[in-house]
Symmetry: C2
Subunit: 594 residues, 2 copies
Amino acid sequence: MRIALAQVNSTVGDLDSNCDAVIAWTARAVAARARVVVFPEMMLTGYPVEDLALRASFVDASIAALDRTAARLAADGLGEIAVVVGYLDRKAGIRPRVGLPTGAPLDAAAVLYGGNVVLKSAKHHLPNYGVFDEFRYFVPGDVLPVFRLAAGSGEAVDVAVAVCEDLWQEGGPVSVARQAGAGLLVVPNASPYERGKGTERVELCLRRGAEAGAALAYVNLVGGQDELVFDGDSIVVDGAGAVVARGPQFEETLVVVDLELPAADQALTDGDSPADACDGTTMTIRRVTLPAAGQAPAGSAETRALWPRLDDLAEVYRALVLGTRDYVVKNGFSSAILALSGGIDSALTATIAADAIGADRVHVVLMPSKYSSPHSVSDAEELVKRQGVQARTIPIASVVAAFDHELHLSGMAEENLQARVRGMILMALSNAEGHLVLTTGNKSELATGYSTLYGDSAGGFAPIKDVLKTLVWDLARWRNQQAAATGEDEPIPENSITKPPSAELRPGQLDTDSLPDYAILDALLDDYVEKDLGAAELAAVGYDPALVERVIGLVDRAEYKRRQYPPGPKITVKNFGRDRRLPITSRWHEPFAG
Amino acid sequence: MRIALAQVNSTVGDLDSNCDAVIAWTARAVAARARVVVFPEMMLTGYPVEDLALRASFVDASIAALDRTAARLAADGLGEIAVVVGYLDRKAGIRPRVGLPTGAPLDAAAVLYGGNVVLKSAKHHLPNYGVFDEFRYFVPGDVLPVFRLAAGSGEAVDVAVAVCEDLWQEGGPVSVARQAGAGLLVVPNASPYERGKGTERVELCLRRGAEAGAALAYVNLVGGQDELVFDGDSIVVDGAGAVVARGPQFEETLVVVDLELPAADQALTDGDSPADACDGTTMTIRRVTLPAAGQAPAGSAETRALWPRLDDLAEVYRALVLGTRDYVVKNGFSSAILALSGGIDSALTATIAADAIGADRVHVVLMPSKYSSPHSVSDAEELVKRQGVQARTIPIASVVAAFDHELHLSGMAEENLQARVRGMILMALSNAEGHLVLTTGNKSELATGYSTLYGDSAGGFAPIKDVLKTLVWDLARWRNQQAAATGEDEPIPENSITKPPSAELRPGQLDTDSLPDYAILDALLDDYVEKDLGAAELAAVGYDPALVERVIGLVDRAEYKRRQYPPGPKITVKNFGRDRRLPITSRWHEPFAG
């Protein structure tokens, strides 16, 4: 049987456009002779909708959009393909958890056929860790839908539906799919990108496919939504445990694949039957047979199932570009602006922005001060020349002097003043010309508080917020190599990559005056922030205890700055955002052996 | 039997000081001849600890602090009182939910006696709505501890322990306490203040006391923690359903009350027995008999059980003062600074700050511009004179001119520039002198985006962030009346209260140029933001549909500004913070009938 996986980019709240996308991509699936097309989790509403899930008017709109989609499919002659689509629904007649409305929201999936909604179900396992808060929004689904579809050979196959987290946790739909004897389990997902997550997903699909005793088709969303980037990378595993399809990363695509599926057990008839979910709960298997459609020969149209995988740096870079592009576009901006210092952070941010929305829509401002070195200006100008971004120069000396005349500042107050004057100039240009301000800080700075609130931290989106400094360098080198490999100009001046990093807020300043070497710092930050190791554990794995104490102190004291930082694309297991929630007011100090 | 409720102020992460507080307040309870003293939820760690609950070193420290507290109590001769204290523990030997560490955290309570930890239990119902994320952190407790204590009369009474949310939800510990035949149910709490919540809590205590068939002692935390303010207001309901104790609001106190309690059923012996929690789960009743202590006559020391209730405006004002004071003090600041414009928002914020930390530690900056009216300066100066805060004047004209020389701004960019110059001056003085910057924006502004990012929204803490403009005026009038009633100077100049509000960023500007009348706006904001009504529902309750559309548009578009706003004390059912989580990127528009 030929199936299609529509890994597409939906937008939160834009139900009409998302419905249009279902129609358009279903038409492609029909043209490709697929019998089933599967869309991502919460396709019609976008994902995650957060507290919109609790608003009655929004749930009503989602349910109406589902019905409208079913009707439009039939009206457009697309009624003879089974369409599996995620949306937001509600469950009536139960007493929901405290905090939920009476009609408790469901992270739902429906099967559309012949102009009708023929089956409805909802996510059974609700993730409530990391960036996810699904216990806040949803009640668990308890139905495993199984639809019977005449296969290309004339025999019928049974297809079950589970949603996203149902694949990640034990028991539930995967276990019930085996009891139901389904030949194929399709799984709409909205799984955010994290570095290296693709390998984990393939292993999971293989394991769960074996547990379900079925082929498994995993479809993931594509696109940026605030801090999250959905990377596509859809997967199909056949009944023998072979990976037979792998979608591209960070791109909308229709993955089309032919599967040999076992014939449905004709003894099983339509209707409900109970099943043990093997997780302490009971589920209902709900079976529906779809009418046999005209049997177009599947071989008559092209399939494409296997895309190559990006290497590590390529996938990180693509995530940053897609996250930035979608933040700009989905929020209605047509251009972006940032400060270009000649340093590596702003050079990489400008390059990401140019790759995301085009160099002609990227505005950069050179804002030299009396402490700026000659190479700062020349390195920035060199980048402008290579990339063709829109550049202007606004010296900050006169404004700083005017402040200084009123305030007579010195030390850190004077250093921060320069950063804040630059931030204000960017914001003023944003107000006057409508650009989105991009913030150029990296994760090492954000972790240690090595930034100025309302200065270099000002802006609407921070493309490299979740990128440690050492990875900033790696990405810059990688991007230049990519250009060189295709015969293009290297976008980033070599000197921006190789010179010692400096904030240039006082004469001769270097980052290493205040921070340890970035190679050591970044390793320690990874262990403290992402792995959540305590001080004793950090010392035990070999870090200098004095350094541990110093860095932990920096990280803990900077929490208030991070709270006011703009969003930026998550690429790690734990970004500074919803992934890591710590109090600002805290007197906790990690205990030290010494 | 005499019991004591220690409604005290613990600090997140300061385990040593919190342990000291348990010792000190237990000594007072012993001096008052109480047989039991009950501390708030998570007393030893502070509450909420957020992701610190997931860090092994922090859980270890909490468990060690509990053992240390038990030993210190005995060493200080405080071993013969039963001490009920909240702390953070872990549950071994279970497979925790995905996202939790192997030793899954518990929101625990222990009974200490004779230098030992004699009973441990944990919260059974985990709130995961509003500001709470407890499914992220904890597994549910399944033990109802019951300790038997010789009463003053020589008879024994059985005392059960439940934790906070266990009182708010059906079934669980309350139901099991009835099955266990407990005569008294004590409940450590960390329940954040919301306007009018006291009435709801009393009704709840009466209902749950009746359901448990027992007297009920509810002890609440006091103090500010980031956006939350815990208001104390502890409650004791006797077995006959009478409120026999009510602690003060927003103050640390020992509430001491004598209760007639039913004699324990001597047929029930120590050990475990299963019980139906009436919520689909099973719990264990765990009984321990504490050795009889020396029976000091209870009547020989003073009791104080009933404090008067504050009226509505008084309790809101006290919440703002306590939230502000604790943010300043617990974060190690000794002073605060804010911009004083002559308008009502900054006047009220300055007054709250002066009441919180003393006028001598409050610094105000008058920053007139060419658009400032004469009364702005004179009203601000009048407040300075009345309150004795530390004042200075820094005109912004020369700095604005310097920017203008570089940027040639007009319109909103120029208006915002003035606000940002003021924000920068405050931040510079904070850097130079170490003050916490207070932000003076109110909830109506924050809702509609009527503020300048990095301008008037700059700062570390925003005392009136959750106060709608109409309530700002009410609180100002109330504060003046309080002063008048006690013969003091009215702190807020009348003209700041009565004049039409204006941002004074262009000639003759008034808030009403951009916003509807505040009485209508605030009512609409309350219905849209706090009650989450959709556009059709708002029109149905009588708002002008065009106004609804305009205001909803303002609120929805301002989400990105709110994300970068500093924290401030929550006083409503839904503050702009963890209570309301909406995507920045959203194309959802409430549907309009028209």
